[in-house]
């Protein structure tokens, strides 16, 4: 009953005219950045975040979340028409989506992707609506040791799933932790790692790091690769975008598979939609009676991963909103945005900020309908974006990145840091270091250190106290298992295969 009441309240917020506009704008921008290779939702949200700080928090988060899930809709268009994923979450969609397009079924492939995204995205939000309040109630019993253990557990999963090398993932995480300690220590007012620069006393700004590591590094990588593809034209007319009855029938289990798999994987920190879509594709192929069709244009081979990467959104918001633990780079940016607006995600968010929590959840139902309407009839128009030349697009992204970093504090020092983090992100990509652990280490580092120090204060320095509380003990054992498991050969082979095919 509380859920229905809360959801009703949320629709009251989400259906306010200005919030419908923000939702539409977010979904529109999300679709655009999803379609454009080289500009992801994380970079876009990081760039736009400083510009939304003066907005009403409910409207701001509704728009930024719209970019997050809208990009997943848009990503499939590039996969199907160009065989080049617009988003990492759409990599698997290339396999059968592009093959369908080559066989003259581009319109049907775009239609299946949109329908599957809508169904699974909606199921993911329904599950978020039902699960989040229960998780928040459970988390009310958490104290500092449980929070510390939860963050260790979450970061271990991120390290496990974000790159082929566990060592590199851990090292990226530690660099993120170091960056989070730059500035004044909140317990003692001691300045740490500031190199005598007064600009660093307040710590590094998350927006600058996120834009540098995601946007600038992405552009540099794309400029290095200079990848181009052959664009398959979108059939004209709405009817040509509708899949046939046989294609829909073949995809019916894929819709269910994508919805459930996507949500469950989404809840796990670090897994992300790329891995969700890979696993959903693997399940679909494993249980299919016509395995030989996979890779040659099977509609269910497109429906399952597209569904999974959209249902993942609902799952990813469960730990973010109820525990304050982001599972990936984009949700880490959403967490920072919420904190900047003065909203603290966690078990009390539902009761302390019902407008934001339920407004966001309700807006996602609205956003899914908006995206279906945008992506079916307007997909030929969106596909034209792929014709925007990179020599126009990249200077625009650089300009947005400069303005995004500069407007944080009005200091050119932040733009200099942006350049430094752009180079760091590029070098990390070249050397095979995943960026997600660095970002999450930075975002969670401060809270993790605080939770650890408070735990040790509570126990007068006795570190074994962390192992004497059942929940923290369970989570720490879980984290240890997560980091030890890859030492088992066949598990590590599966892990590396999942990551390399999903990345």
């Amino acid at each position: 009953m509380d859920i229905l009441y809360g959801l009703g309240h949320g629709f009251g917020v989400a259906l306010q005219p200005q919030n419908i506009v923000w939702c539409f704008l977010g979904c529109f921008l999300g679709t655009v950045v999803g379609i454009l290779p080289g500009l992801g939702p994380a970079a876009t949200i990081a760039i736009l975040m400083p510009l939304t700080l003066n907005m009403d928090p409910a409207g701001g988060i509704i728009m930024l979340a719209g970019i997050y899930y809208g990009a997943k809709y848009g990503g499939s268009t590039t996969s199907i028409l160009l065989n080049m994923p617009g988003e990492s979450s759409s990599v698997v969609s290339c396999i059968d989506g592009y093959q369908m397009a080559l066989k003259g079924r581009a319109g049907a492939a775009l239609g299946i992707a949109a329908i599957s995204s809508f169904i699974a995205g909606t199921v993911g939000i329904v599950l978020l609506t039902l699960v989040a309040p229960a998780v928040a109630r459970f988390a009310l019993s958490f104290s500092s040791p449980e929070y510390f253990a939860l963050m260790v557990f979450g970061l271990s999963l991120v390290v496990l799933l974000s790159g082929a090398s566990l060592l590199k993932g851990l090292l990226a995480l530690l660099v993120g932790l170091w960056l989070s300690t730059v500035g004044i220590d909140l317990f003692t007012a001691q300045s740490r790692f500031t190199f005598g620069r007064p600009e660093l006393l307040g710590g590094l700004d998350f927006v600058v790091i996120a834009i540098g590591v995601f946007a600038i590094a992405e552009i540099m990588t794309t400029i290095q690769n200079r990848a181009e593809g052959r664009l398959i034209p979108v059939p004209k007319g709405f009817r040509n975008l509708l899949p046939s009855w046989e294609e829909l029938k073949a995809s019916r289990f894929a819709f269910v598979n994508g919805s459930i798999t996507g949500f469950v994987i989404g809840v796990l920190p670090g897994a992300g939609s790329a891995i969700a879509s890979f696993i959903a594709y693997g399940i679909e192929k494993a249980v299919s009676k016509r395995k030989e069709m996979f890779g040659h244009g099977a509609p269910e081979g497109l429906a399952a991963p597209e569904g999974a990467n959209n249902a993942d959104t609902g799952g990813a918001l469960v730990p973010l909103l109820t525990l304050g633990i982001p599972g990936g780079g984009t949700t880490a940016i959403l967490l920072s945005a919420l904190i900047l607006w003065g909203v603290r995600p966690g078990p009390l968010m539902i009761t302390e900020s019902p407008d934001i929590f339920w407004g966001l959840v309700a807006s996602m139902y609205v956003g899914n309908v908006v995206l279906l309407l945008l992506n079916l009839p307007l997909v030929p128009a969106f596909a034209q974006l792929l014709r925007v030349p990179k020599w126009v697009l990249f200077p625009v992204i650089f300009g947005l990145a400069i303005i995004g970093a500069y407007s944080v504090s009005g200091r050119i020092f932040d733009v200099e840091l942006l350049a430094a983090f752009g180079l760091l992100g590029f070098l990390m990509a070249k050397l095979g270091f995943p960026s997600a652990p660095l970002i999450l280490g930075f975002v969670l580092g401060d809270a993790m250190e605080r939770a650890l120090r408070q735990s040790l204060m509570m126990s007068q320095g006795d570190i074994t106290s962390l192992f004497q509380r059942p929940i923290s003990l369970t989570l720490l054992i879980g984290a240890a298992i997560i980091l030890i498991l890859p030492m088992v050969g066949f598990i590590n082979r599966f892990r590396v295969r999942a990551i390399s095919e999903g990345a």
């Binding site: 530690l174 003692t188 540099m220 290095q224 990179k390 180079l423 095979g432 204060m457």
Partner: protein
């Protein structure tokens, strides 16, 4: 030859750099109070993760050596050169921005990017650079009232 290959390996270089960073974090962190009367001090956390960073970096180097040093796949030097050229132009634009303002610095940066990296005709590069910068100025400075660095021309 084998030692030279080792020194050029990306994992070994990254491991050495991160071990150096870990050493710096550990030593600097040791300079802060490790423990205070109320509990762990500001040096507590950095000392632990700095030490862990050293250990894992050395682990990365050792695991690379144990895997066997073989010449890796060919490095795309022209591609890396393009990316680094772009980055260098961005750095120059950033450093010059406080002196010449956003409009001049960004127009020149766009020109270098469009002409130098994407090799478009000179006139097209100039027109595109001016148009993009003008669009940014109108949208952000005039319409959204975002304060950007101004140069001697006032923009």
């Amino acid at each position: 030859m084998r030692f030279q290959t080792l020194l050029r390996d990306g994992d070994v270089i990254a491991g050495a750099a991160l071990a150096g960073l870990g050493g710096f974090v550990f030593v600097t962190g040791s300079g802060y109070a490790y423990w205070s009367p109320s509990g762990p001090g500001p040096g507590f956390f950095p000392v632990w993760y700095g030490g862990l960073m050293i250990a894992l970096s050395l682990g990365l180097i050792v695991s690379r050596i144990l895997r066997g040093i073989t010449p890796g796949e060919a490095i795309d030097w022209p591609g890396i050169g393009r990316a680094m050229f772009t980055w260098a132009a961005f750095v120059v634009a950033t450093l010059s921005m406080p002196h010449v303002g956003f409009v001049i610095a960004f127009t020149l940066f766009c020109l270098v990017l469009i002409k130098g990296v994407f090799q478009r005709p000179f006139l097209q590069a100039i027109l595109a650079s001016v148009a993009i910068t003008a669009a940014f100025h109108v949208i952000f400075v005039i319409l959204l009232q975002v304060d950007l660095p101004a140069g001697p021309l006032g923009v």
